[in-house]
């Protein structure tokens, strides 16, 4: 069974008399260790889909199974545990807590996972080393550049040893060069075994992944392997 199995996912928003089909019968599956981009114009339903994949939202109908969890049926607290144990989020606007240091921000998911303080600190430090911020552990978000903040956020996403990393526009707030660095970090994490799904409206960014799913008006309109990418992977 694939890591993500989505069958006929539908999400409706009722706005007075009008009904918005944010997702309209979306089906796909993503295997373990995949690296996948979701692209599409604004309002096509990308973020809605990501929120459902991440257990932040539930579909109006359809079945969504992630790592054998039927998350459409879970209650609020089960979803919280699911997110903590299975998902690592990376946001466009980083979403670091400004009062906490880089190290403490990375510790945050482990606090809710009940990891012991000593173990937590060691692991957070390791992760910051891994994203190249070994020298910045005691810094607060305001003392870091955008690219560095997004690296902290990625380290935080990895903290719970998640099966799936979801990134909604992770390079959207960064300049081109920094965006390239972040994408390189994702590629490396994927090579080391992480399953990653990123949302982007930038086709150049999408081209750096292995597979591109294109959405429009709540539908999947195409789902292709990126040619260059597969060849690249084959060469490695």
């Amino acid at each position: 069974m694939a890591l993500i199995e989505a069958r006929e996912l539908t999400k409706l928003y009722r706005m007075g008399d009008e009904t918005v089909h944010a997702l309209d019968g979306v089906s796909f599956s993503i295997p373990d260790r995949d690296y996948c981009a979701i692209v599409g114009p604004s309002g096509s339903g990308k973020s809605t889909l990501m929120n459902i994949l991440g257990g932040l939202d539930t579909p109006t109908s359809g079945v969504i199974t992630i790592a054998a969890n039927d998350i459409g049926q879970m209650n609020d607290d089960d979803l919280a545990v699911f997110r903590n144990q299975t998902i690592g989020f990376v946001f466009q606007s980083f979403n670091l807590l400004p009062r906490l240091t880089a190290l403490e921000n990375v510790e945050l998911p482990m606090i809710y996972g009940g990891v012991l303080p000593k173990e937590r600190k060691e692991r957070a430090a390791e992760l910051l080393e891994r994203v190249g911020l070994g020298q910045r552990m005691g810094h607060r978000p305001t003392q870091l550049s955008g690219g560095q903040q997004q690296r902290v956020a990625i380290a935080r996403a990895l903290a719970g040893q998640p099966k799936l990393i979801l990134a909604d526009e992770p390079t959207g707030a960064l300049d081109t060069n920094t965006g390239v660095e972040i994408m390189a970090l994702f590629r490396q994490l994927n090579r080391e075994g992480a399953t990653i799904v990123i949302v982007t409206h930038d086709h150049e960014v999408a081209a750096q992944t292995r597979r591109t799913i294109e959405m429009r008006d709540g539908h999947i309109v195409s789902d292709n392997l990126n040619e260059g990418k597969t060849r690249h992977d084959a060469n490695v």
């Binding site: 932040l56 607290d77 919280a80 997110r83 903590n84 989020f89 807590l97 606090i111 809710y112 719970g160």
Partner: protein
């Protein structure tokens, strides 16, 4: 599930992030708890004081005075009322069952001069039994005996206040004082009963009853009348029955009917009880009024917590996205509220006790702070935090993470 130590440190961090705001929020509770503690301590002090001063008059004691008492009103003089008690009345009472001691006394006011100083105490003509009736001891020298009393000797026993004022640097025993132009030898000094706020029992001179009647009290004191009869019962249990007996025997002798008496029998233990109850009601009233300010403090906490939840909506959304359950968020915000209120409670307790100490010192009352009341104050402030923190914390816990993360 979040660990307790992490909860505590995150609440502490959030409160320290806005020290001024936290301090001002706690101030509401500080003022509330401080005023409750101070008021209750003050009331309890007054209560203890009232009980103590009445008890110091003597135990198992009935005091018979001339004049009638109507209902809750004061003593009312009747025609000839002030002369209505006599030595014979005292003797008749002494024949009753359950009587330990009967001590008639005659009160007078006159200046006492000694040593170039003068003082204006109450001069009381008494029999030696007076000390037994009032549970009073001699501190220096001795009390006069029955023979000396009957012989109307010119001797006195001084109350502590009088002794200190007339003989500041001298042994009073053996000295001479002058009253009404006559010289009297000091043969003893009474043990101090202590200052009792509204009356100083030590501001007294005891002289033989006969002496006072003949030489000091003037026209009113002559003859057979006395101004007071102290009756000590053999035990607390018989006090009420003895009161009835005394009333009956005096009614017989004075030919009065109940309701038209020309005398009043005061039962000190029941007076103590009434007075204690009154001051206790007073204490509760003061405490209750102050508790309103504690309520206002609680509303302040609720207000600030609601502001805080709104400000930190994005943080709450993020925490939920990262795996915080509803209970984690509920506990985090609840703990912030309770920390504010309990910290306010502890500081308020300290300030309240200090304030009570200041006021009781000022009014010369005993300071009564029971550990139970202190504990209650802290517990109650904690409760205020729980009650007023619950709604903001619940709002935080129920936030939808997607909505919350989208908020700027």
């Amino acid at each position: 599930m979040m660990r307790t130590s992490d909860l505590v440190s995150s609440a502490g961090r959030a409160l320290r992030a806005n020290p001024m705001r936290s301090a001002l929020t706690a101030l509401g509770v500080i003022i509330g708890v401080a005023s409750v503690v101070a008021m209750v301590a003050l009331g309890s002090g007054a209560q203890a004081q009232v009980e103590r001063s009445i008890a110091s008059l003597g135990s198992n004691l009935l005091i018979v005075v001339p004049g009638s008492m109507r209902g809750a009103g004061g003593v009312r003089g009747q025609a000839g009322g002030f002369d209505s008690l006599t030595m014979d009345d005292a003797e008749a009472i002494a024949q009753l069952e359950n009587v330990a001691v009967v001590a008639p006394s005659q009160r007078a006011r006159t200046q006492v001069i000694a040593n170039g100083l003068n003082w204006n105490p109450e001069v009381n003509g008494v029999t030696p039994d007076f000390l037994t009736a009032r549970d009073w001891e001699i501190a220096q020298g001795r009390m006069f005996d029955e023979t000396e009393e009957r012989q109307a000797r010119r001797i006195v026993v001084l109350g502590n206040t009088v002794a200190e004022n007339l003989f500041p640097n001298m042994e009073p025993v053996g000295q001479t004082v002058r009253m009404n132009g006559g010289a009297y030898e000091v043969i003893g000094v009474l043990e101090s009963k202590g200052q009792s706020g509204f009356m100083d029992q030590d501001d007294i001179v005891l002289a033989p009853l006969t002496t006072v009647k003949r030489r000091i009290a003037g026209r009113r004191g002559r003859g057979d009348t006395v101004s007071q009869i102290s009756v000590k019962a053999q035990s607390e249990d018989v006090l009420d029955r003895l009161q009835e007996d005394v009333e009956n025997v005096l009614r017989q002798r004075h030919r009065t009917r109940e309701g038209e008496d020309d005398f009043t029998v005061q039962n000190l233990s029941s007076i103590t009880e009434t007075a204690a109850q009154t001051t206790q009601v007073f204490t509760y009233l003061l405490g209750g009024i102050s508790a309103v300010s504690l309520l206002v403090g609680g509303i302040g906490i609720m207000n600030i917590m609601l502001v805080s939840v709104t400000e930190r909506t994005r943080e709450i959304g993020l925490r939920k996205a990262l795996g915080a359950r509803q209970s984690d968020i509920l506990h985090q915000f609840g703990l912030e509220a309770v920390t504010l209120s309990v910290a306010g409670g502890i500081i308020g307790l300290v300030i309240g006790v200090a304030g009570a100490w200041g006021m009781t010192t000022l009014f010369n009352l005993p300071l009564v702070v029971s550990p139970l009341n202190a504990g209650l104050a802290i517990a109650f402030s904690g409760l205020v935090g729980v009650v007023f923190g619950a709604y903001p914390a619940w709002r935080a816990a129920k936030l939808d993470p997607i909505e919350a993360l989208r908020r700027e």
